[in-house]
Symmetry: C2
Subunit: 199 residues, 2 copies
């Protein structure tokens, strides 16, 4: 069990509707020392990858991405979310449909900050159905850049996003994969070793 | 001239309407090494202050706050901006009116993450008219916590926010204070030494 899984068991709270509340250390109050440990783990898992930029999405991905970036010694670009497009200049825009909220959002990155020379590590706090992530991948591809890997703090393994991204051949590393959780008992079960899973 | 001022002169762009574009290193693409230098400078300027928490506001304050927090060895809380209030649980809410956009926004922090025991350093990327900052100060006061200081990357010295905050007695440290800028020539003039300014 890694440091993030331990922390989820200690301070995470399961709520009705498959909500895992981790706002005391991950996405409202942020434990920077924990982020440093997560950065070291991502550095190990993406060792040997040629990464020159980290891409994330506002808001709760930004803090993790900035601390992880110190391990890779690269800049961070954060994509903006917007219902409308009103940013100045040339932008990559991916329209993504939210499974959860039944609405469409634009994911936007300035063309200045992603080029065909970029080898990108995508970082985000949560992966469930993977809408935001699909938008980020679409944008990296639009730029002609390369997705070297995807690092996620918490993946909801019982939703479809992670499987789909792995099926597409991406190296997706989630530090904690929740396979089952129960709001009535508070139980949280992590995936033991994903490489052992078989269809 | 400090490292941030040098970078603004090198990569910042002045646009019509008193817009200073710093999206290549501060608030869209983020230079984490620069943020580390900024963190060291804030640590010097707030030396001796008893700070146990950093408060910032989404989105572009978060990256700076997380890297600055490493110097102070404290957690970061980021306030959420929302037109409506739909977050679960007990929240501190400050309604702030935007001078620029002529609209009202709510600045929101969970009551769990600010208490009377907290000694708070507020961090943000920009200070112009100071609306967001006023909301953050209001929230710290609502919690019965103490504002130990305010650290800003870039202050537009020709707008009213900075003077008002200093007049209220807060220690406000802006790493770069732009006193004048000109979109037609691209000229940017920084305040030399604010302590020498007199009324």
């Amino acid at each position: 069990m890694n440091v993030l899984e331990e922390r989820i068991l200690k301070d995470g709270m399961v709520k009705e509707g498959n909500v895992l509340k981790v706002d005391s250390f991950l996405n409202h109050q942020m434990d920077i020392k924990l982020f440093e440990e997560m950065g070291k783990e991502f550095k190990k898992r993406f060792a040997g990858k040629n990464i020159n930029k980290i891409l994330t999405i506002e808001s709760s991905g930004i803090g993790i991405a900035c601390v992880v970036a110190q391990q890779f010694d690269v800049p961070v670009v954060f994509a903006k979310k917007s219902r409308s497009i009103n940013l100045e200049g040339e932008m990559y825009v991916a329209e993504v449909e939210s499974f959860t909220h039944k609405c469409k959002n634009n994911v936007i990155v300035s063309k200045k900050f992603l080029t065909p020379e970029d080898h990108v590590l995508i970082i985000d706090d949560f992966l469930a159905n993977g809408c935001a992530l699909q938008g980020l991948i679409q944008i990296v591809q639009s730029a002609g850049a390369t997705v070297e890997g995807i690092g996620i703090a918490i993946e909801k393994g019982f939703q479809t996003g992670g499987r789909m991204i792995r099926n597409l051949g991406y190296q997706l590393e989630s530090l904690a994969i929740v396979d089952r959780m129960d709001a009535s008992t508070g139980e949280i079960v992590f995936r033991q070793n994903e490489s052992l899973a078989s269809c």
